[in-house]
């Protein structure tokens, strides 16, 4: 298949996924006064000191770097919530807990730029690392179970960065399985010759791995 020999088949680099994650809204508490910002992506309302406002993360980080605001950590990023999530992840062997889609990127950006705004930042950071490890391990065990006849792999509640890491591998593996399992390779009970392209209408046998 064209592109099979290229190991860099991943569509997004890690920096690009981070860039996409910066669109998430966070709450900031500005310490200056500014008029509304009319941007293409939206209007971000007048900034008054000590009044909390919702802005995209990229704007929050930019303001924070200039010392014009403090960032309030999102409510999923507290030690209690994260401990709960970690417990739930460890208990359920197949399912992923619902977490914000870009939690890895948001956590990294906030801990890099807004370290003093997060209570217990080291604890939060280590919890997120643990959560990430447990989830990734689950992904790996899930991938071990795919075999021939797997048309699609569905992983619920996977986050953007995790999906980006496994995407090239899973795509390649599924391609390889499909290639080896086409009807031309495995002789079918009826001896009529089947062209490879017509393997798509193989019937409703769709096998999904959750």
């Amino acid at each position: 298949m064209a592109g099979q020999s290229d190991p860099h088949i991943s569509l997004f680099s890690a920096q690009e996924v981070e860039f996409l994650g910066e669109d998430e809204m966070v709450e900031i508490v500005p310490n200056m006064r500014m008029d509304p910002l009319n941007l293409i992506c939206g209007d971000f309302g007048p900034f008054r000191p000590q009044i909390a406002t919702q802005v995209p993360l990229w704007l929050a980080v930019a303001l924070k770097k200039r010392g014009k605001c403090t960032i309030r950590p999102p409510e999923w990023m507290s030690v209690e919530k994260l401990t709960q999530v970690l417990e739930a992840e460890r208990n359920s062997l197949r399912e992923f807990q619902p977490l914000p889609f870009h939690y890895v990127e948001i956590a990294r950006l906030l801990s890099d730029h807004a370290r003093d705004d997060i209570p217990d930042v080291y604890m939060v950071r280590s919890l997120i690392e643990d959560i990430r490890d447990v989830r990734f391990h689950k992904v790996e065990t899930g991938l071990e179970t795919i075999h021939e006849r797997t048309h699609a792999v569905k992983l619920k509640n996977l986050s953007a960065m995790e999906a980006n890491i496994v995407r090239p591998f899973v795509v390649r593996a599924l391609q390889a399985f499909y290639k080896h399992d086409s009807p031309e390779m495995i002789p079918q009970p009826d001896t009529t010759a089947i062209r490879r392209r017509q393997a798509a209408d193989r019937g409703p046998k769709r096998d999904r791995r959750y």
């Binding site: 064209a2 190991p7 890690a14 920096q15 980006n164 496994v166 593996a173 390889a176 031309e184 390779m185």
Partner: protein, 186 residues
């Protein structure tokens, strides 16, 4: 014909397969090392690259035998313990060659052999791919075919890129063309 320019496909077709000539051929004695004259006798067995054997087969000038990497010895090894079989020294393009040969040779069991081998080796590749440290190269890497090595490297490189991102570092990198100071021209 999307595969026409694919380098791997081209190299796969260079693999030698043994073929038996059905007709005598003149002027190509170089193919058969044991020929006295510059021609190949009917019924003589020569090693041809796959692309040549494929074309000649379509003209019904040869018949192709199953190459050595698919013989009984390999099959037994694969059935015994697939992840440890050193496929790279047998034939680095094991799967691709098998896929191409299967419709030509008339051996119906190649497909399921490939599938079974790939399935069990895939699990090994998977477990090592994402997590292994990069510096000690695991032994399994030396016995993988090209296709499996691609899979492994894909996972490794995406994991390494993620780790590098996580370490942090400057968001903006100075472009290399700006690095050198221009000499003042006077």
């Amino acid at each position: 014909m999307a595969h026409y320019y694919d380098i791997d496909e081209i190299i796969v077709e260079e693999e030698l397969v043994s073929a038996v000539f059905q007709k005598a051929a003149n002027g190509v004695g170089i193919l058969d090392p044991s020929a006295e004259t510059n021609s190949v006798e009917q019924g003589s067995k020569v090693e041809l690259p796959f692309w040549l054997a494929h074309e000649l087969l379509q003209r019904q000038a040869v018949t192709i035998n199953v190459p050595a990497c698919f013989n009984q010895k390999t099959r037994k090894e694969i059935q015994a313990d697939a992840p440890c079989v050193d496929l790279r020294s047998r034939c680095p393009y094991f799967y691709e060659l098998g896929c191409k040969l299967a419709p030509l040779v008339g051996d119906r069991t190649i497909g399921s052999l490939l599938l079974q081998a790939f399935l069990s080796r895939y699990k090994e590749v998977l477990s090592k791919a994402h997590t292994a440290a990069s510096t000690p190269v695991p032994k399994v890497l030396t016995i993988l075919t090209k296709e499996e090595t691609n899979l492994y490297e894909t996972a490794q490189s995406s994991m390494a890129a993620f780790k590098k991102w996580r370490m942090g570092g400057p968001r903006f990198q100075r472009a290399s063309v700006l690095g050198r100071k221009r000499k003042p021209t006077d």
